[in-house]
């Protein structure tokens, strides 16, 4: 086999694999489980998404809203951005409740909005830092005017 043919073959195989990868990527993207779109409670109230669209919902855990089922299998609470609230139910078979999940703290959940207006979450994220506010949440709260600002660091750096 001549060098030119060999190179042609390698390029063909390479392009074929790239095409295959593109098909795989597009196929994966079109599946609703792979992508999650960020939304705030207000977004959900104004424009309810279709029930099969995966949503990443961020806000604050409303104080006094957390209820644990008596068998410890699910967790119900409300997420608020100051303007609207959404009822969330989380089945803990999907993973343990993060250590930092607390009332009044920022939280991000992933799942789908059921037709009854209840958000069924299968992922619950509260970051491992109590000063930390999930960036999407911080931004959403800023938009609705409920942002209190970050805690200033202990000392201001000086050169």
């Amino acid at each position: 086999m001549k060098r030119k043919h060999r190179r042609l073959l390698a390029v063909t195989v390479g392009l074929g694999l790239l095409a295959l990868a593109t098909v795989l990527v597009l196929n994966a993207l079109s599946n609703s489980g792979a992508l999650a779109f960020f939304a705030t409670p207000t977004d959900l109230a104004e424009k309810p998404p279709s029930p099969d669209r995966r949503i990443r919902l961020g806000g604050l855990v409303e104080t006094g809203s957390v209820e644990r089922a008596s068998d410890g299998r699910s967790l119900d609470f409300r997420i608020t951005d100051g303007k609207s609230t959404v009822r969330v139910t989380y089945d803990i078979a999907n993973g343990p409740v993060p250590d930092l999940f607390r009332e009044g703290q920022g939280v991000v959940v992933e799942g789908k909005l059921q037709s009854g207006g209840i958000f069924r979450a299968d992922t619950l994220l509260a970051k491992h830092d109590e000063r930390y506010m999930p960036p999407e949440v911080a931004e959403a709260l800023k938009r609705t005017g409920h942002w209190q600002g970050e805690h200033p660091p202990a000392g201001q750096a000086k050169p």
């Binding site: 086999m1 001549k2 060098r3 060999r6 073959l9 390698a10 195989v13 390479g14 694999l17 790239l18 295959l20 990868a21 795989l24 990527v25 196929n27 994966a28 993207l29 599946n31 489980g33 792979a34 992508l35 999650a36 779109f37 960020f38 995966r54 990443r56 644990r68 068998d71 410890g72 299998r73 803990i92 078979a93 993973g95 343990p96 409740v97 250590d99 930092l100 992933e110 491992h128 830092d129 109590e130 960036p135 999407e136 931004e139 660091p153 202990a154 000392g155 201001q156 750096a157 000086k158 050169p159």
Partner: protein, 659 residues
């Protein structure tokens, strides 16, 4: 005072790096020996200076000098000494200093061990190393100075994130950086070859050991990170396709491809330009990986913009470091002479297939990791790409690669015989079939995919051993002859077998996760819970006091058929400085399975949420990674790569040009 000394040492190192990036290059161009040798001295001196700066920073952490901003923000006087030291690289500034320390260490090693290199190649390699050093030292000094003073100094620091106070995570970044930065040597050799316009087998012989060393370190680093996530986060998972994980996985994938293509350059003098491109891409992905994790761009594109100087510096650095060599490549690569000719079915062909699959797989990971960042930066909305995306794109591309692992080494160079290779793999095929049949009929008929995964592992494992058996003529010659053959097999052959066995072990560990069992219950002291034939009894929950945390510690007695298996003590810790709770999982491993116990919240009425997993074969995931890294190290000890071996072979090649 010591901190100022460290600061000064960094500045001095920057000046030396500037000299190192220019002088040897001019020397090599003009054939000026004095300028060329300047590269070696500056590289070693630069390492000494950066080591001094690093020591000064570590000193500040150890004595808890809270007048330094990084120490005040990331350390605390009550922190155990070990974590004061490892805390040096637990933050942006310190980790950058560690990065440069390792970079200059590699530069000094090239200067030290590279005395047998042709002087012009050595000078150019060191000059490129110097340029990377210049960029990073300038980045540290101008945007992320670790020696910034605070006035007034706070009385105590803000403490370190408790999740990071863990030995697994403490040693994870140095290994990761050894890997990332180790690829800089391959990168420098590639750029030097582009400047020189010449690549030969001896060049590959120099590049391979450096790539191999970096690859081993990166393998260990990724495995440590995954293991840390497994035992510390309490979720029972070990890989999340998280952007931080992907950032280290992409250079590993392309680095693995580089490792294999360098073999073709060395043995067959082919694939030269492709190997150079891979060397550039591997280091480019290492740079992107470093900055993805360290710049804050992952938590938010906007956090990245909070510090515009840092963000702009990173973007310019990436553009120059990746764009420059690629432009040089576009200009120079077409002039390289193609090497040995080979048929598509040959070992070269198999290695090309390996390379294509690995790079295409890496590109899908790249897309999934960076696409959300790109959309966000364009203002097109926020979205996240979850693990299903990666499972549906990455796994289908890996399957043909894994299937081909035993075949490649059995194909001959230049022209291979697929049929006879297949015949020699009959035993492996039989083993895979046996595993498939046994698992689907006897164990669990419904888990077809997982059974196929185990069969794949058997195919790779037995197939890799079959190649070794072929080389030593197992059972075909008398035992004594076989042993002599086994002893004379080069170490690199053993390295390959071991690394491929490691792949098989990891694949088996991943596939077996389909059989894991999990139970979550609210338990009261005295109650028992049965899972997978084991019985776990919660004896008591008691408060305990750690050095910088207080905790609730549960005691579980785990039995199987009445016999004691283990006494396990998971904790729920509350770190006093940060007021932050963390879980401390208890894991009992017998290397065939893990028993994993997590203590959750108290329900306030004497009950505790308890989560227990029984995970068959899960330790194999990391054991396999260790076997891969060990294979790399065994290969590294091959005599061909001892100091001076390369120069002899280059002389031999020059003496026999018609070879």
């Amino acid at each position: 005072m010591i901190a100022e000394l460290g600061h000064f040492a960094l500045a001095l190192a920057l000046m030396l790096a500037l000299v190192q990036s220019v002088a040897p290059l001019i020397g090599a161009q003009r054939g000026h020996p004095g300028l060329m040798t300047l590269g070696g001295g500056t590289a070693i001196a630069q390492f000494a200076l950066v080591a001094l700066a690093f020591a000064a920073l570590a000193h500040a952490y150890v004595i808890s000098d809270f007048s330094l901003a990084t120490v005040a923000e990331n350390s605390h006087s009550t922190k155990p000494l070990l974590y004061k030291i490892t805390g040096v690289w637990g933050n942006h500034e310190g980790s950058m200093v560690l990065w440069v320390l390792i970079l200059t260490l590699f530069g000094a090693a090239v200067a030290w061990f590279g005395t047998s290199l042709p002087p012009d190649l050595r000078a150019r390699v060191l000059a490129v190393q110097g340029m990377i050093g210049t960029a990073f030292l300038a980045f540290i000094l101008f945007t992320s100075n670790p020696f910034l003073r605070l006035s007034p100094a706070p009385l105590d620091g803000q403490g370190m994130n408790p999740v990071l106070q863990d030995i697994g995570l403490a040693i994870h970044p140095p290994f990761l950086y050894l890997g990332y930065v180790g690829f800089s040597v391959a990168f420098s050799f590639a750029v030097a070859a582009l400047i020189e316009g010449r690549v030969d087998a001896a060049w590959a012989r120099w590049v391979r050991p450096w790539t191999l060393a970096a690859w081993c370190a990166l393998t260990i680093g990724i495995a440590l990170g995954s293991w840390w996530a497994y035992y510390t986060l309490g979720w029972g998972g070990w890989w999340y396709w998280d952007p931080v994980e992907n950032a280290s996985f992409m250079p590993w994938l392309v680095g693995t491809a580089l490792l294999h293509s360098a073999i073709v350059v060395e043995k067959r003098d082919a694939l030269k330009t492709w190997t150079i491109l891979l060397a550039i891409l591997t280091f480019a992905l290492s740079l992107i990986g470093t900055f993805l994790v360290r710049s804050g761009v992952l938590t938010s594109v906007h956090a990245f913009a909070v510090d515009p100087a840092r963000g702009a510096f990173i973007l310019v650095l990436l553009a120059v470091a990746i764009g420059g060599p690629l432009i040089l490549y576009a200009i120079r690569a077409p002039s390289f002479q193609g090497g040995g000719i080979f048929a598509p079915i040959s070992r070269e062909g198999a290695l090309i297939l390996n390379n294509l699959l690995l790079t295409v797989a890496a590109s899908t990971v790249f897309f999934g990791t960076l696409w959300p960042l790109f959309l966000d930066a364009m203002g097109a909305g926020k979205l996240s790409v979850g693990f299903p995306f990666f499972n549906w794109t990455f796994v289908p591309l890996m399957v043909p690669l894994l299937l081909a692992i035993p075949l490649g080494p059995l194909l001959g160079w230049k022209r291979g015989d697929l049929l006879s290779a297949m015949q020699r793999l009959l035993v492996a095929a039989g083993a895979a079939l046996a595993v498939e049949v046994v698992v689907t009929t006897l164990v669990s008929p419904e888990k077809t995919l997982a059974a196929a995964g185990l069969a794949l592992a058997a195919w790779i494992g037995v197939g890799s051993l079959a190649e070794w058996a072929e080389r030593v003529q197992l059972l075909r010659v008398p035992l004594r002859t076989m042993l002599v053959r086994a002893r004379h097999l080069p170490r690199s052959a053993y390295g390959m077998t071991l690394a491929h066995l490691g792949v098989a072990i990891t694949v088996a560990g991943i596939a077996a996760s389909a059989w894991e069992q999990e139970r979550i219950e609210i338990m009261h002291p005295g109650e028992s819970l049965a899972i997978a034939g084991y019985e776990a009894r919660l004896d008591k929950v008691e408060p305990v006091q750690g050095p910088n945390y207080s905790a609730d510690r549960a005691t579980f007695t785990v039995t199987r058929d009445g016999a004691l298996v283990a006494t396990m003590r998971p904790e729920r810790r509350l770190f006093t400085v940060q007021r932050m709770p963390t879980t401390f999982t208890a894991i009992h491993s017998d290397l065939l399975s893990d028993f994993y116990v997590v203590l959750g919240d108290s329900d306030g009425k004497g009950g505790w949420t308890v989560r227990i997993y029984q995970k068959p074969l899960v330790p194999w995931i990391w054991l396999g990674c260790m076997a891969m890294a060990l294979g790399g190290l065994v290969s590294l000890s091959d005599r061909r790569w001892r100091v001076g071996a390369a120069v002899r072979s280059r002389r031999a090649a020059a003496a026999a040009p018609g070879d």
